[in-house]
């Protein structure tokens, strides 16, 4: 990942053109992103006194194409204005006979959006019978066919691919993704970003095809040498929950270029969030909100952070803020839903998440959060469906996988649950919660061997200096800072496997954790177990010792007293 940092004026001009190109092609989100980045450049070059004419309509660099564009200019303007008032079919129809790349793009893109709109209308209510795979975008095959002919013509005529074709390729990728044809889509998208790297929409779609770190590394070589690649790698890493120092340093490098970029700052906050460093994440979001209170993007993530921190008043305030900006944004409704969820008003929370989904069916966090709410409301089946939709939208959401697993556990379908826990653990390999859940799942399925492995894996958390859990437990014990619960569970597993000696070692380790976390129920149980163990082994003195400690305080006083009485009788 050693792309060169581009020349500032060049970058400046490139981003300006990108914004214009995107907005000309009605890629509003891409234009917005590019413009934001453009305005966050540290020291913009001195402003020219007048804009070059190409700024109004960035024509193609290819003269033949430019001539074509010029001849179709009026039609294009008509179509664009139809598009802007959301008359997609009309816009598409107007451009039917146009030949230029730009016109073709608008023609097909409008068709695609019209199809999407009809699909939305057809799918009726959220989680209703028509929602989901039952309703498809019916324009997709036609668009695909049209694009393929265009590309085939190009190949046939032996023409070069130009910058303008990158948008067509992007559309091709999007359409392929709709058909779940990910490999080809990835290829198309990589080609698209290579032709024109400043279309953020293409990068985003590309990120959608990257399911793991492995995938990312695979495609890394075929990406263009541009600062956009850096940004892409950064955001993809963030989405893959990579929180290492290298990512942070990369981010710091980029921030040097774009010091005021809210997007980059948000990435930083999300990195902290994934690393469960909530205070830092919160303070970054705080500043962002203060500097730009009209911004709603990523506020749902902020609300998640506040939710985990249980900062209710603040969450309420953020909800107010989002509300005053726009009541009909999915993010706003997610924030409000989170607020109600924190107040344990789950019905209302679900109502707001549904609202968010009505506004945008691909709103990932809303699906996941709605799943959580359904779990709270003991509506497991609805929860499973919501989670399922979440992972359909984005397979990288470990919370949805984990939620699916938990739901199936509630239904006592452990084999299913195991699969989902595995998926979750694959996404978050250093999150002990996932492994623990997996271990418990194995335990329920009477597979203590695998359970022990899972629990041992759970001991390796992100912050600890990764001792090797396979080594001797006493060695583990010396490395302080483990969850006694997991240690206890491992011991119990060993006991189940009739390996009491191993179990005793883990129990000892568990008890030793008292030094770090104090006396808990779990350590008490471990001590009790050990006392009995020593009793059986006729190690009276130690048994006495342990039992006496238990008699003083602890949950199992009665049992301990009985043991002491037994000991005295010996």
């Amino acid at each position: 990942m050693a792309t060169e940092m581009p020349d500032l004026p060049v970058l400046h001009a490139a981003l300006q053109t990108a914004t214009l190109k995107c907005s000309e092609r009605c890629l509003y989100q891409g234009a917005k992103w590019a413009a934001e980045l453009l305005n966050s450049i540290a020291s913009p070059p001195s402003t020219p006194t007048s804009l070059p004419p190409t700024y109004l309509h960035p024509a193609s660099k290819d003269p033949a194409e430019a001539a074509l564009e010029a001849s179709e200019f009026s039609t294009f303007l008509l179509a664009k204005s139809y598009f802007d008032v959301r008359e997609f079919d009309r816009s598409s129809h107007v451009l039917e006979k146009c030949r230029s790349s730009k016109s073709r793009f608008i023609h097909l893109y409008a068709k695609f959006l019209a199809g999407e709109k009809r699909k939305e209308e057809g799918s009726e209510m959220v989680l209703g019978p028509m929602d989901g795979a039952a309703t498809q975008n019916k324009e997709v095959p036609a668009i695909l066919a049209a694009l393929e002919t265009v590309f085939a013509d190009k190949e046939g005529d032996g023409l070069d691919w130009s910058e303008d074709d990158s948008f067509l390729l992007w559309l091709y990728g999007v359409v392929l993704l709709k058909q779940k044809n990910e490999e080809e889509a990835q290829g198309a998208l990589i080609k698209s970003v290579n032709l024109y790297p400043y279309n953020w929409c293409a990068w985003q779609e590309l990120a959608g095809t990257v399911g793991s770190l492995q995938d990312l590394n695979n495609i890394l070589m075929s990406l263009p040498n541009s600062i956009m690649t850096n940004l892409f790698v950064l955001s993809t890493n963030q989405e893959l929950y990579q929180t290492g120092d290298s990512i942070h340093s990369q981010l710091t490098d980029l921030l040097a270029f774009f010091p005021t970029s809210t997007w980059l700052k948000t990435q930083r906050a999300l990195l902290y969030y994934h690393a469960r460093e909530f205070e830092e994440a919160e303070s970054i979001f705080d500043q962002l909100v203060k500097s730009d209170p009209h911004r709603i993007d990523y506020l749902d993530h902020y609300s998640n952070i506040l939710y985990v921190m249980e900062r209710r008043p603040k969450l309420g305030f953020i909800a107010q803020l989002a509300l005053t900006t726009d009541r009909f944004r999915p993010e706003t409704n997610c924030v409000v839903g989170n607020y109600y969820s924190l107040k344990s008003e789950h019905e209302k929370a679900v109502q707001y998440f549904r609202r968010a989904l009505t506004l945008d069916k691909t709103c990932l966090s809303a699906w996941t959060l709605m799943g959580h709410e359904y779990v709270e409301m003991k509506n497991t089946h609805a929860a499973i469906e919501a989670y399922r939709r979440a992972v359909d939208v984005n397979r990288k959401d470990y919370r949805a996988w984990y939620g699916l697993g938990l739901s199936y556990e509630v239904l006592e379908m452990h084999y299913y649950a195991l699969f989902y826990f595995q998926r979750a653990a694959a996404l978050r390999p250093y999150d002990s919660q996932m492994w623990q859940a997996m271990g418990q799942c194995y335990d329920r399925m009477n597979r203590p061997g695998e359970a022990i492995k899972s629990f041992k894996r759970a001991l390796i958390t992100l912050n600890s200096q990764s001792p090797n859990p396979d080594s001797h437990p006493s060695a583990v014990g010396e490395q302080r800072g483990f969850d006694p619960l997991i240690l206890h569970q491992i011991a119990v597993m060993f006991e189940k496997m009739r390996q009491p000696k191993e179990a005793a070692k883990w129990m000892e380790a568990c008890m030793a954790e008292e030094e770090n976390v104090g006396v808990t129920t779990t350590t008490g149980q471990a001590r009790m177990w050990l006392a009995r163990w020593e009793f059986v082994n006729q190690n009276w003195n130690r048994a006495q010792e342990l039992a006496n400690v238990l008699c003083q305080d602890g949950q199992e006083v009665e049992e301990a007293k009985a043991l002491v009485r037994d000991l005295r009788s010996r």
Binding site: K290, P293, P313, F317, A319, Q320, L323, V336, Y352
Partner: protein, 752 residues
Amino acid sequence: MSRYLTPGKIALLVLVELYAESRFPNKAVLPVISFVIKQLVRPKDTTTFILGLDQIKDVTVNEPSTVVGRTIFDLLLMELWYINSFDALHTFFADAQIYLRDPEKQEPSPGHVKHNKRRFISPTSILGCFIRRAGLEFSKLQFHETNSLWGAFVRFREPTLSLWKKRKLGAGPMSFDANLKGMTMNDLLVQKVYGKLDGSKDWTVSTDDVERLLEYQVETMQRLGTRVPDETQLQLRKMLSTDVPISHLRHYVNFLNSWRSGDYPSSFDSLHRYFDYTMHSRDRTFYQYALLNLAILQADFGCHRESVLAMQETINTARENKDMACLNFALSWLYHFHRAHPQDCPDVIASRMERESLQFLKAKAKEWGMDHLLSMAYLSETRQILLGGDSVPAAFESLLRSSHINVTHQIHNAQGSQILLQSTLWSRLGVSQLAWLNCELFLSKYDNGSPSEDLVVALCRSAYILSMRGRFDEALDRLEQVDQEALRSLKIYQYWASYIGLIKLRRAVYRNEFAAAELLLQQLTSSEQVEPDCALETSIAKIELQMRTGNFVAAMLHCNQVSAELVRDRADSYHKVRLMILKAEIFARSGRAMKGLSTAISAASMAWKARFLPVLFYAFNVIATILIQLEEYNAAYKMLDSIMPQVLECEDAYLTAQCFACLADGQVGLAGTRKGVSRAECLGRALGFIDRAFSEYSRVQDVYSQKLMMSRKIRIQDYLGDKTLRDDAVKMYRQVEQGREGVNPGPSPFRH
């Protein structure tokens, strides 16, 4: 738009909480809690609709609390400012529900030591209902609505910031929201979230408040029959300016208002609009009530036939829906309508009304426990007895029954009709003092909560009785004292105005101001909407006027016409008898005494049978006049002489004057048959009678009769040869003549 909750309600809730936590000393409980309850229950006056902090402050600022040195208002402020974020508002509402739990039954939780002292508010009490309703309404709110409520609350509380700063160190302009610590008002974020609050009037008024105001208005209008006072209309406009959704009841208020003001098209329109809007929102169908209103409305505007048809439909619908209350009311109304306008009732209705008469209504009212209807039925019975001229004791019995029901069941708005009817009864029995007293009693003791119409009727009647005694100016003064608010209702105004016209007309007739009388008469008869009793009095005045101008033919024609109408309408026999006597009088005056005699005698016998005493005396007077014309002086004199005490009791100045004049005529006639001392005696007596007649005439300012009396006196004195006395009489005659020309005739100087 707010359904129920407003910042004011939050403040009330805080007060209730303070009360529940026993932070009020006993002395303060009564004033503060009664203030709170006044805001929650059905309103009694118009002050309780827009609740501001100032109102609360007035009540609480002087009440010490259990915390030394703090008033309840201080505590209230403290609690209000502790709600320091949007989230705290949620918590506040959630916590309020605790007070509904019985502390005895609840095991003490270690975290809530302070609740040990708290009072238990029963969930079914007014305060309990308020807490529950507030909690429910709050949880029903959508998020953005909650946000608006919070914004309104921040604005509501803001004026007390300076007070709060004194109590709490470190409180600043940003302390209204804990999330804004360390920011200033100019921060972008603050501007964004709270910038739009200034001057916004959202959520200061709730639909509930508006509905309460409208309901109160409807109730007042229906009970008192007045229009919307300007003050209330202003308040309503103020409320509606806050974007609160308009309740459908508003159309009903509009309907009542335009009905009272006599605006037929818009009242019709509003009524239809109201029922169109409420059709879907109520589970019961209200069709019969729509029809009922429509029928009454049409009757009021004189579309009698339409009205009867609508009422018939009402009865059918009410029967179908088994709505007994509506059915009984409709039947009762139709019964009265049938009584009042028999010519407009189709035969079907008329025959049914005969069948399902009062007995039926009474039985129904008793069966359904509708006391009001029962009381009205008894009154109707009384009225019917009076109309038929039947037994007076029976009438009194029914009247007493009605009165008993009114008193025992506290039916205030039937009180008026009952007392008025009683007054009528007394005046028919010739005890005008009692009749007048009844009216005055009603006016002074029942003016609160009685329909304005009854009040105005009583006022008019009392003034009319005064005018009968010749005290015209006093009567007119009395009429001017009417409540101006009541006059805004068209019907009432017309009634009142026609009484003023009537009194003036009578005065003009007595004074022989014929031009003025003609004008007044024209005005009075031009309006169609005149109460029947008023119209009759006008007709009688007209006949008198025609007699005075000597137009006996026209008078006779008119008299015949009116009595034919009365017969057709099966009207009050009292009036019929009066017209008979009037007819006899016309005959007597026009010199065809014999023709009038039989009419007068039959009228007298009818009047005697029904105990219409003033009419009876009037008949006697006419008979005596006729007898005198027939030269039966002794009979005439004796007859009148025997009834004189009772005539005086009637306090009808004109009647009294005429009787005295008649007596004088009788004496003069007798003097003609006697000789010597006896003749002089008779003439002396005649002189005495003339004097008294003169004084009575001067009361009613009947100049012509006064002069007549004086001229008779002059002649008798002349005959007796007493020059000085004769000259005195001449002088007086001149004076009367001059006084007539004066600007203000005033009470005659010869009254006593």
